[in-house]
């Protein structure tokens, strides 16, 4: 197998995921509506109730809308990562996974390409969301747009790998939906996506510690700094390590077993 063949294969997998995404209009619609609802409705209410004091990387007092932008971007990535993994379980149930397994290219490479495709889709959705967010006076500099891209890509790769790992552990499609509720919501709410950690600490010390150990917190903080053209080194280190570990575990534990097999 030549390098070109690997490249064609990777591009083919990415294209397929993009085509599928645009064919599933409801998925595209909900991917944008969900965070926009949070931004416009939820944040408007909380803006009045909550004040966010000066904290890094912000140089001045910021509105609540501005504060939750990185969290909502990560929410998009989290949902996309989990939904794409859900599609792996669906593919396995429906038999389409067999097509992937008939490739002469190594399975870990194919799964790696799948993760790249998931990350690329997440990146597209985040940028569409950020453009929409401009309408509610959330300003992001051009530099912020540029530096956010690698951060989103890394986060998306991590969350995609996490989804892939979960999909390997789940035997049936029905079980996956249940597990999602125990993964997506705790990950999102027990993080700095909606409230700064120091506010969590004031409210409950054990919730604060749960947030501290939640890798999603580091995803949010990595992106928060990246949107300001800065690198949060500790968040970057945590996410990079978590990505490597999760991706390796996902690739090792991936089992293409089909439900019709006895």
């Amino acid at each position: 197998m030549t390098l070109n063949q690997y490249l064609y294969c990777c591009l083919g997998i990415v294209k397929r995921e993009v085509f599928r995404f645009f064919q599933q209009r409801s998925r595209l619609f909900s991917a944008l509506v969900r965070p926009l609802l949070w931004l416009i409705v939820f944040a408007a209410g909380f803006r009045a109730a909550l004040g966010v004091s000066i904290m890094e990387p912000y140089g001045t007092y910021i509105t609540y809308q501005e504060y939750i932008i990185p969290g909502l971007c990560c929410m998009i990535v989290l949902f996309n990562g989990m939904q794409s993994s859900l599609s792996m379980v669906y593919d396995r149930e429906m038999g389409s996974m067999k097509v992937l397994l008939m490739s002469p290219l190594p399975l870990p490479f194919l799964l790696f390409c799948k993760l790249i495709a998931i990350a690329f889709l997440s990146l597209m959705q985040v940028y569409v969301f950020l453009l929409c967010a401009q309408l509610v006076d959330v300003d992001i500099s051009l530099l912020g747009y540029l530096t956010a891209a690698p951060a989103v890509f890394l986060i998306a790769f991590f969350l995609g790998a996490l989804g892939l790992l979960l999909s390997s552990l789940i035997k049936q499609l029905e079980n996956f939906a249940g597990v999602m509720n125990f993964v997506i919501f705790p990950m999102f709410f027990l993080s700095s996506a909606l409230y700064p950690l120091w506010k969590m600490q004031e409210a409950s010390i054990w919730i604060y510690w749960l947030c501290q150990y939640n890798p999603f917190t580091y995803c949010v903080e990595l992106l928060r700094f990246a949107l300001f053209g800065q690198l949060n080194l500790s968040a970057f280190s945590v996410i990079l390590s978590a990505t490597v570990i999760t991706a390796v575990l996902a690739l090792i534990s991936f089992s293409p077993k089909f439900s019709q097999q006895r």
Binding site: C9, K15, S103, P104
Partner: protein, 242 residues
């Protein structure tokens, strides 16, 4: 060359699905005939590498499947019993995706796709979503997909099940022609006896064991029966197949 299995056995837990299967399939049209639950799909799953071989060996065109899976997969085309097309994508997108999985450049793949779809009278459906195609057309797309990378071995698992007579005839005659034109090894799995011709290499499987393996007409002669129906009933004592 073709497909060779040596002492191939497989069990689901304690239940034996295949017992000591020794096959030797040369290039040409080979039919694997057996009732439901005979072990055809298990054998198919082992031959395609979807299920790992534990006991026995499989050789495809002289290469051991366990040692050269990548090489073998690049030479193997497969049509599964259950449809594996992506319903939300068009025919073209499905075919290009498969070509990409085999590392074929889109330009080259499109040339192959045009030729194969023309042969299968599907050119006009190139941009249609698979969801809008009928069962016969979907099957033809799956066959086209299995041929994009010009395989030397083609495996089809009950490829005509659920199709009307016209579609069945079109598909089986296309694969037979392909076999002659390209000199490839085709393994056609079925439980429909009317798909067997006297010149076909016939393998009858029942309860996980090969009951007979030779040219269809020779087997009829050997067992002193007049047709495949009688041969099948004599070897399997099964009246399920038609």
């Amino acid at each position: 060359m073709g497909i060779v299995t040596n002492n191939l056995s497989f069990a689901y837990g304690k239940k034996k699905a295949l017992n000591n299967i020794n096959l030797s399939l040369a290039n040409g049209f080979n039919i694997l005939l057996g009732p439901n639950g005979a072990g055809k799909s298990t054998l198919f799953s082992l031959l395609t590498g979807l299920t790992q071989t534990v006991n026995g060996t499989i050789e495809i065109n002289g290469d051991k499947l366990s040692d050269n899976k990548s090489k073998i997969m690049s030479q193997m085309g497969v049509v599964f019993q259950q449809s594996t097309l992506d319903l939300d994508l068009s025919v073209k997108q499905n075919l290009l995706y498969y070509a990409a999985l085999h590392g074929i450049a889109p330009k080259k793949a499109l040339v192959n796709i045009d030729i194969i779809l023309a042969q299968l009278s599907l050119t006009e459906r190139l941009h249609d979503k698979v969801r809008t195609l009928n069962g016969g057309h979907r099957r033809r797309v799956e066959i086209a997909r299995a041929l994009i990378h010009q395989p030397k071995v083609l495996l089809l698992d009950e490829a005509t099940v659920g199709l009307d007579v016209e579609s069945r005839l079109l598909i089986i005659s296309y694969v037979r022609n392909l076999c002659t034109q390209r000199d490839i090894c085709v393994l056609w799995t079925t439980h429909l006896m009317d798909e067997v011709e006297s010149t076909d290499q016939l393998i009858i499987i029942n309860k996980g064991e090969i009951q007979a393996q030779d040219q269809s007409s020779k087997l009829c002669e050997q067992y002193q029966v007049t047709d495949v129906y009688q041969l099948y009933f004599a070897l399997t004592q099964n009246t399920e197949a038609v």
